[in-house]
């Protein structure tokens, strides 16, 4: 299965581990990712807050390129997903917007390219039982242990859950998508109330004190819920929860010690992909203790 892959800037830089693990998992599951040639910024900057046309145009430019490839767009970064899907919606809903966007990007784009998150592809196109089969291995009698019994708190944050029209989830209040996928690897996702809590990403630089409080509460709740680690699907969530964990620990004077994985890293691990190919060494909070069980 071939998809037009939109990596976005985070996956090219700070979230490089998300990128490599995505590519590795895709390879292992026979998902063909073809990067959109000449892709540009999704508009997840100040654009969407200041200029609706600019925001829609930035998304449309990329989607128009993908349209030429004739397949669905696959996105990993939650912010990119949100912007591209929102751009599609804006164009599909308004003929005027479509016209204006066409003028801005120099070609007509009808808003019809399907923008899908990698999580959706895994569940809907690959299928949970297929993932289980892949985790168990191709050879009968040599079933891999996968991530049997790993207690993971799946964390979605805001961009994948809101607004409702763009959400990739059945139930934005209590999503189950990441849980289902990781459960297919033998992990045991915990049920916890802070799956869609705000991690404070938009104040990441301006109000670190606020972010620290928010991150602290999320980590606390994950811990209380019995999680060994956290799984995320957004570069900003990952950065905040992982990078600020030390700050939280320092100000509280106690260890939190919750590795924060991209779901692709856990999935890749379950599929038996070497850690080096999953960028696991990039994580700040040391995952060794958690992963040791699965060697």
């Amino acid at each position: 299965m071939k998809y037009a892959f939109f990596p976005g800037c985070s996956l090219e830089s700070t979230a490089n581990d998300f990128m490599v693990s995505t590519l590795a998992v895709a390879r292992a599951l026979g998902i063909e990712l073809e990067e959109i040639p000449g892709w540009t910024c999704c508009g997840s900057t100040a654009a969407h807050a200041t200029d609706a046309l600019l925001a829609a145009s930035m998304a449309a430019r990329n989607l128009a390129l993908a349209q030429d490839m004739g397949c669905d767009v696959i996105v990993c970064c939650a912010a990119c997903y949100g912007r591209l899907a929102a751009g599609n919606l804006a164009i599909a809903e308004s003929a005027k917007m479509r016209e204006d966007v066409a003028a801005a990007i120099g070609r007509d784009y009808d808003g019809s390219v399907k923008v899908r998150h990698f999580l959706q592809i895994l569940k809907d196109d690959i299928g949970l039982s297929e993932i289980t089969t892949a985790v168990e291995g191709e050879t009968p009698g040599h079933t891999s242990k996968g991530l049997d019994g790993l207690k993971v708190a799946c964390y979605y944050g805001c961009l994948l859950t809101r607004p409702k029209e763009l959400s990739i989830l059945d139930d934005p209040e209590n999503p189950q998508l990441m849980e289902e996928i990781l459960a297919a690897t033998g992990a045991e996702p915990v049920e916890w109330p802070y799956k869609t809590e705000c991690c404070g990403a938009s104040f990441s630089i301006t109000r670190t004190d606020t972010v620290k409080t928010l991150v602290g509460e999320i980590l606390d709740m994950a811990k209380q819920s019995g999680a060994d680690c956290i799984a995320v699907a957004c570069p900003l969530c990952q950065t905040n929860l992982d990078l600020r964990q030390q700050d939280v620990e320092e100000s509280r004077g106690q260890k939190v010690d919750l590795p924060v994985f991209y779901f692709t890293q856990l999935l890749g691990r379950a599929l038996g992909i070497p850690e080096n190919d999953l960028g696991i060494s990039k994580l700040i909070t040391d995952p060794k203790r958690v992963l040791a069980r699965y060697r």
């Binding site: 299965m1 297929e130 089969t133 191709e138 050879t139 009968p140 009698g141 040599h142 079933t143 139930d171 934005p172 209040e173 209590n174 459960a183 049920e191 916890w192 109330p193 802070y194 709740m221 209380q224 819920s225 019995g226």
Partner: protein, 1472 residues
């Protein structure tokens, strides 16, 4: 109650051409019940169409009702019973309207009544069925807080008092089974520990059950819905468990009918054996011809013994053969002995089930080499002990179960190295995953994505297999799997000395020698998919010979199918009729529907239970079976049928469709609570301790799932902190529920107060936006709740967080300006009202419009009128409302229907006639005693026969016997027979409660000419067997005592006379406002002469000016049946219900008016304010004055004109502690008027709580959208107004805690309604009570909102409590509807169980006069002695007077002192 035709009398013949004198009431909730009773009691036939299995609606689910704290069930149950007893109400449950047509007066409705599977007439509600039902499903009546059984009674007080079976379609596991095994049933029975019964079910349909328990390919588990949430239920394991753990024997049909037609079966494999079994059981002589020396076919030849033990196989085959089947082994059918020969020998039909014995060829080079063998030949040789040659290195080609068997067998035979070569990947392998893993576990190697190209010889011997590497392409093959394609140049050789090709089998068709048998391109026999008939008549085929390499269960299924066809063929019947092709797979739609159903049950993931060692232990099996989701709900295990003694259960019951003709329709389908998962942020369905208000009512209820204990669902711990979140699914635009649900505020307050009674020290907080306590006495209740410690926190809660481990629920809100986090044990969501799917369906079918909130649209002032003429609406379907408003509207809708159908009153009703009563006044008592078993309810505890023996010895008893069900139809006949035969003059039934059954036995007595008061009941069930089940001996003694007491009392009973009095079919209405006029018009339209007395000079009262008022006044003034008395007053009232006489003082003198009923509609008065400069400043107006100015255009509105309004002026204060109900909506309407006239005018409304209930919430929203400002104030800091033309309004905003100032041009005061000044005078005139606020006090705040305790007098309008014009009109109609129940009768019955005064003992102390709630006793100045007499027409038989009378002068008939004393003496006789 059944009534035979000749006992019925139609009171009038149908009028030619007139409207139909019958009404269809849709909905059996409190609204439907009230409307039905009013109509039936006024001479109309009623069809009460209810969607569920019981009437009672939502009210039956409530615990208590406010403000009186009555038990909801206790007050509604009598009404339910009254409905069933009314001969003119036909209750149709589980029904919906399918088609509807016609015009007012002449409608025709098609009604579908869903199959109940229980015959209501036969069911005695004994509950024996429920005890044996193995299927546990969430109890919807308790909203899933507990489980009930598939056969159940909706609730204890269900009416009709009968059970119902809940069914869905055949569950997917059963549909998937080629044999049609009822997997859900045997799994359910195992879960219930009934292993024998489970085995019985398995064996019933399956001739080879245990073999299936070992080797079935389990299509049922593939379809199991549990696999969507976790592992499928281990159905095959459970089947094996049940068969291994049963004491029972395989069933044999001993007394089968014998048939002469012989049948030949070719092949003793699973299909042949199954067919033989079926045919033998149906009496056919069967001969099996088997080519091999042994039976079992592929089961023996193809399946290794390590998978299927041979003793199991032998036993199962013997079971079949032992039925007298002739078995001929070593008898191949073919050229030697053809099918034609068989026919010539007299066989009438042949079933060919020869299987597929030839191994399919790979078609590769070298396949003929020695060392290359076919899998089937190899395994057959091994299994039949012929010995097979196996080398050291073995390659097996193929990946089905046969390949696994071959590989494992090869391994066991000593091959060192066994490799399976397969061209696809593991996930495409057709073999059962368990088999694959077993093979791998035993050391079989797998080489995947590899395809053999040729077999490599060396020296004439096999040395290897040359293979090609494969890869999966995107292309799909016919089976939907990805097609493997070879990788170029990947040839390689796998060394081996033996290669076994196990890629499939083909049949050997030599059996068909000489026959022209149609086959297909794969060499398989072609058959009709339904009948399995071949192209040759009389020859049938099934199993592998048709399907290729199929499965065991498919073969068994085919055998059974073919056998049934053969039976039909021989009987000359149509072989296909009523049968479906062997289509096991569910459609997407079916799956989708089932998934929706299962999702609604909030299922959790579940892992399967694995056996600790080998097979399941009973506990493990039961735990595993309990994981079944019961997709079909009822599993049709027939356990209920076995125990039902009255034979009331019929699983074959079908839906029935009937057509009814009605003149009018009342829609009262009620509401459904908002689905709280729609507000996901509150975690309903996710957090167990978040419940809805309906669930909470059930939790509080003593008959609920927690027996009234307030416990957390998560862990059963007592709730200590409780929170209510209001407006869940109300006032919620995002969820498309913009309306206010009107009742939730009071419901939450009541639930808090009741909960505090349940748990001492309970901490309760209600989080609300406005407290809408707008009804009669509501504010007082609200204040009392505050005083009792219920905390009210104005806050919109944004979400609920469940704390892990403790499962406490954390809420965040702002209190006193500061953010607070607080944890609660339980959060109750006050879910709002919405229209149910069923109601929407009904609305569509009958063709009425809905409004923007999804409720039935109705007239602005004619609230009961739907958009279609002749169809009226009542209850929450019109607009959310509470019980009194619902009951009121129901009576109003009934009145409208009566108006429409007046000419046909009495044309469709029946009346029961009884024989003349015998006079037994001086006869010795001859008592007949019937002791009821109540199935096993009584008899399993009480020794009924001993009670009968004892009863026979008692004084006065001439006959005694025990009966299984005293209430059953045939028992009634028997009782009548005995009464006549033994000339009985007293009837005593010792059974259950008189509450439900006394009327039945009285009726039976009357049919034998016995006075109904000569019947007595002893309750030996509820008060004996049920409560003493652990002590049968003592219970039997007690039952004897109870019977002895009742016998003694029965001996003392006397016949009571009743008297028929004529009814004056005229009415008097006092008060000519909107409610009074509406009442008078309704009555007059019904044909009753009505006097309308108004003290003012004109009719109209406080009704706003306008065309509606003019129309009403004009109609009332001109109506030929209405006598209007203006400037008049009623000054004297005499008489009683049916016969009143009043003096009316008119300007032309006193007039006497006689009437049978009276309606008080004297309205209220507007409070004239003294505060806020009213009367001192011209620019301070009342809301009504402002309205008049706006209507007349007298208010100058410029840009910037500022108009302020102050709410609750003269309401909700110490002087008038009640809400005036209509002022908030009134203010909002005026504000909208202003904004629409001048958008740039400013409107500020100062309020305490905005009480825009129901649809008027939409006006509140509209006003805010138009820019009207709403600012709250508290009564502690009321606004202050000063100044002249430009006034200054100063007020404190309570959230900001800041004083604000506003310059205003006009100030409108929303002044309240006060009781009418005449209330006191009318109260004295009619001897009817007022409440402490000075409004009239109705008979019952909930269920009799327009009645007085004194019969024949009704009330309506603001004299009851403040309300809007529309509500006043509606209540006027309701009063008319209620009055019609009296006026419609020419005569009324009085007497019977009433109190009587012995005037020789009476000292006229007036105790009884004061104590009687009905005003029945009065001093009779005419009896010469000025003693008290009791008016029989007014007496309700409550006995209060008899109990209180100090002189013991009063006796309540039927409960006289000596009757009660006789019972007590009988009890104490032995002690004293």
């Amino acid at each position: 109650m059944s009534i035979s035709g000749e006992e019925l009398r139609i009171t009038d013949s149908s009028l030619e051409g007139g409207p139909v004198g019958a009404v269809m009431v849709c909905g059996g909730g409190v609204a439907g019940i009230q409307a039905a009773l009013d109509l039936a009691n006024s001479g109309f036939k009623v069809y009460l169409v209810e969607k569920s299995a019981t009437i009672g609606g939502k009210m039956a689910q409530l615990d208590k009702t406010f403000p009186t704290g009555d038990c909801a069930t206790c007050i509604i149950s009598p009404k339910l019973v009254e409905c069933t007893r009314n001969l003119n109400i036909e209750i149709i449950t589980q029904a919906e309207v399918e088609q509807f047509e016609g015009e007012p007066g002449h409608f025709r409705a098609k009604i579908r009544e869903k199959a109940r599977f229980v015959d209501i007439d036969k069911c005695t509600a004994c509950g024996d069925c429920e005890k044996v039902c193995p299927v546990k499903v969430p109890d919807n009546f308790n909203r899933g807080l507990n489980n009930t059984t598939a056969i159940h009674k909706v609730c204890a007080q269900a009416v009709p008092n009968a059970y119902v079976i809940e069914k869905r379609e055949r569950p997917p596991c059963v549909s998937a089974c080629p044999i049609g095994q009822n997997a859900q049933a045997y799994v359910a029975l195992i879960a219930a520990g009934k292993f024998d019964e489970a085995a019985e079910i398995i064996r019933r349909d399956n001739p080879l059950p245990l073999i299936c328990g070992y080797v079935c390919h389990r299509p049922c588990e593939d379809e199991c819905q549990q696999s969507r949430y976790g592992d499928p239920v281990s159905i095959r394991e459970l089947k094996k468990f049940a068969l291994d753990n049963t004491q029972g024997k395989d069933t044999k049909n001993e007394d089968r009918p014998l048939r002469p037609e012989r049948i030949a079966i070719i092949g003793a494999g699973p299909a042949g054996l199954a067919a033989a079994d079926w045919l033998a059981k149906h009496g056919y002589p069967v001969t099996i011809f088997e080519a091999l020396p042994v039976t079992g076919g592929m089961m023996r030849a193809g399946i290794p013994d390590f998978r299927l033990p041979r003793e199991v196989l032998d036993r199962q085959v013997a079971n079949i053969i032992d039925q007298g089947i002739e078995l001929k082994t070593n008898s191949p059918i073919g050229p030697g002995l053809t099918i034609a020969d068989l026919k010539a020998q007299g066989y009438k039909a042949v079933f060919a089930s020869v299987g597929a014995q030839k191994g399919s060829k790979l078609g590769a080079e070298g396949e003929d080499l020695p060392g290359v063998v076919s899998g089937i030949d190899f395994i057959r040789d091994v299994n039949l002990g012929k010995g097979a040659q196996i080398g050291e290195k073995v390659v097996v080609i193929g990946a089905g179960n046969a390949a696994m068997d071959v590989a494992r067998t090869a391994k066991r035979l000593g091959a060192k190295d066994v490799t399976i070569v397969y061209r696809r990947t593991k996930r495409e392998m057709p073999a059962d995953r368990v088999e694959v893993e077993e093979a791998a576990h035993e050391g079989v190697k797998f080489v995947l994505l590899t395809n053999p190209k040729r077999f490599v010889p060396k020296g004439g011997k096999l040395v290897g297999v040359e293979c090609l590497k494969m890869k999966l392409s995107d292309e799909r093959d016919a089976s939907g799997r990805r097609k493997p394609v070879p990788v170029k140049g990947s040839e390689h050789i796998i060394e081996c000395d033996t290669a076994i090709v196990a890629i499939g089998q083909t049949p050997d068709l030599s059996f068909a020698a000489g026959l022209d048998l149609a086959t297909n391109k794969w060499g398989l026999v072609e058959v009709d998919p339904i009948t399995l008939a071949t192209s040759v008549p009389g020859v049938f085929a099934g199993g592998d010979v048709v399907a290729g390499a199929g499965t065991l269960s498919e073969a068994v299924g085919a055998g059974i199918r073919a056998a049934e066809s053969i039976d039909r063929f021989i009987n000359g019947e149509d072989m296909s009729e009523g049968r479906r092709p062997d289509d096991h797979v569910w459609t997407e739609d079916q799956h989708h529907e089932l998934e929706r159903f299962q999702r609604s049950r909030n299922l959790k993931k579940s892992r399967k239970v694995t056996a600790e060692k080998g097979d399941y232990s009973p506990d493990e099996a039961m735990a595993e079976a309990a994981r079944c989701l019961a997709c079909g709900i009822c599993c049709e295990c027939m356990e209920c049928v076995k125990v039902c003694q009255p034979k009331a259960i019929n699983h074959e019951m079908k839906d029935t469709v009937r057509e009814i003709d009605v003149g009018a329709v009342i829609l009262a389908p009620g509401f459904e609570e908002f689905d709280a998962t729609g507000r996901g942020e509150f975690g309903f369905g996710r957090y167990p301790n978040v419940v809805t208000n309906v669930q909470f009512e059930r939790m509080l209820s003593a008959s609920g799932p927690y027996a009234g204990h307030l416990l957390r669902p998560s862990d059963g711990q007592e709730v200590k902190k409780l929170a209510f979140i209001q407006c869940v699914g109300s006032r919620d635009i995002a969820n498309n529920r913009p309306h206010c649900s009107s009742v939730c505020c009071m419901a939450a307050i009541k639930e808090s107060v009741v909960a505090m009674d349940h748990t001492e020290g309970l901490d309760t907080t209600i989080f609300y936006t406005d407290i809408r306590a707008f009804g009669k006495d509501f504010d007082r209740y609200y204040e009392r709740a505050q005083a009792q410690g219920v905390k009210f926190q104005r806050s919109m809660i944004s979400r609920v967080v469940e704390v892990p481990e403790s499962r406490m629920l954390r809420l965040s809100y702002v209190r006193d300006g500061k953010p607070v986090e607080e944890e609660f044990d339980l959060v109750v969501l006050s879910t709002g009202m919405r229209t149910s799917e069923e109601a929407l369906h009904t609305a569509r079918v009958v063709g009425v419009n809905l409004n923007e909130c999804g409720f039935c649209s109705s007239g602005e002032l004619a609230t009961v009128q739907s958009s279609r003429e002749g169809i009226f609406v009542a209850g929450a379907f019109q607009e959310p409302k509470d019980i009194p408003d619902t009951v009121t509207q129901a009576s109003a809708a009934a009145a409208k229907a009566m108006q429409l159908l007046a000419p046909s009153r009495g044309t469709m009703v029946v009346e029961k006639l009884y024989p003349t009563e015998h006079d037994y006044t001086d006869a010795q008592p001859r008592i007949g005693v019937f002791i009821c078993h109540c199935g096993i309810n009584i008899a399993s505890v009480v020794d009924v026969e001993r009670v009968v023996e004892a009863a026979r010895e008692m004084y006065g008893v001439v006959y005694a016997e025990n009966v299984v069900y005293a209430c059953a139809d045939n028992t009634q006949d028997r009782i009548k027979e005995i009464i006549r035969e033994h000339n009985l003059n007293r009837l005593l039934v010792a059974s259950c409660t008189p509450r439900t059954h006394e009327a039945l036995f009285r009726d039976t007595a009357r049919e034998c000419g016995l006075n109904p008061f000569l019947v007595e009941m002893a309750n030996i069930r509820d008060q004996c067997s049920w409560v003493h089940s652990e002590n049968p001996e003592a219970a039997t003694e007690k039952a004897i005592d109870l019977v002895r007491m009742s016998v003694a009392r029965a001996a003392q009973l006397s016949a009571l006379a009743t008297e028929e009095l004529p009814v004056n079919q005229a009415a008097l209405v006092i008060g000519g406002g909107p409610s009074g006029i509406s009442a008078a018009l309704a009555l007059a339209d019904m044909g009753f002469r009505t006097s309308l007395v108004e003290k003012e000079e004109a009719l109209g009262g406080r009704m706003p000016k306008g065309p509606m008022r003019d129309r009403l006044v004009r109609r009332a003034s001109n109506h030929p049946l209405i006598d209007v008395y203006l400037s008049s007053k009623a000054t004297k009232l005499n008489g009683h219900v049916g016969n009143f006489s009043s003096i009316v003082e008119t300007p032309t003198g006193k007039k006497t008016v006689t009437h049978g009923a009276m309606i008080i509609a004297i309205g209220g008065t507007e409070y004239k304010p003294r505060e806020y400069l009213y009367g001192l400043n011209q620019r301070v107006l009342t809301q009504r004055e402002l309205e008049n100015k706006l209507i007349d255009g007298n208010l100058p509105l410029d840009i910037g004109t500022t108009i302020a309004m102050i709410q609750c002026v003269g309401s909700r204060n110490s002087e008038r502690p009640f809400c005036s109900r209509s002022c908030c909506a009134h203010a909002v309407k005026n504000a909208i008027r202003i904004k629409e006239a001048q958008p740039d005018a400013n409107v500020v409304i100062l309020y305490r709580d905005m009480r825009t209930y129901g649809a008027s919430e939409l006006l509140y929203q509209k006003a805010r959208q138009l820019g009207v400002l709403f600012v709250r104030y508290t009564p502690e800091e009321p606004p202050v107004v000063t100044g002249g033309d430009r006034m200054k309004l100063t007020f404190v905003e309570p959230e900001l805690q800041r004083t604000l100032e506003l310059n205003v041009d006009y100030l409108a005061l929303s002044t309240g309604t006060a009781p009418a000044v005449d209330n006191q005078q009318v109260s004295e005139l009619a001897k009817i009570p007022l409440n402490e606020d000075g409004f009239f006090l109705e008979a019952h705040l909930k269920l009799r909102p327009v009645d007085f305790a004194s019969e024949g007098i009704f009330l309506c309008g603001s004299t009851h409590s403040p309300k809007s014009t529309a509500e006043n009109i509606q209540q006027g109609l309701a009063a008319a509807g209620r009055a019609a129940t009296i006026l419609s009768k020419k005569t009324m019955i009085v007497g019977g169980q009433v109190s009587c005064v012995d005037i020789r003992k009476c000292v006229s102390c007036l105790t009884c006069v004061r104590v009687c709630p009905y005003g029945a006793p009065a001093v009779n100045y005419a009896n010469g002695k000025n003693r008290v007499e009791i008016e029989a027409a007014k007496c309700m038989g409550c006995g209060s007077c008899a109990a209180e009378c100090p002189a013991k002068a009063i006796q309540l008939q039927h409960f006289t002192d000596h009757q009660v004393a006789a019972a007590i003496e009988a009890l104490l006789a032995e002690v004293c």
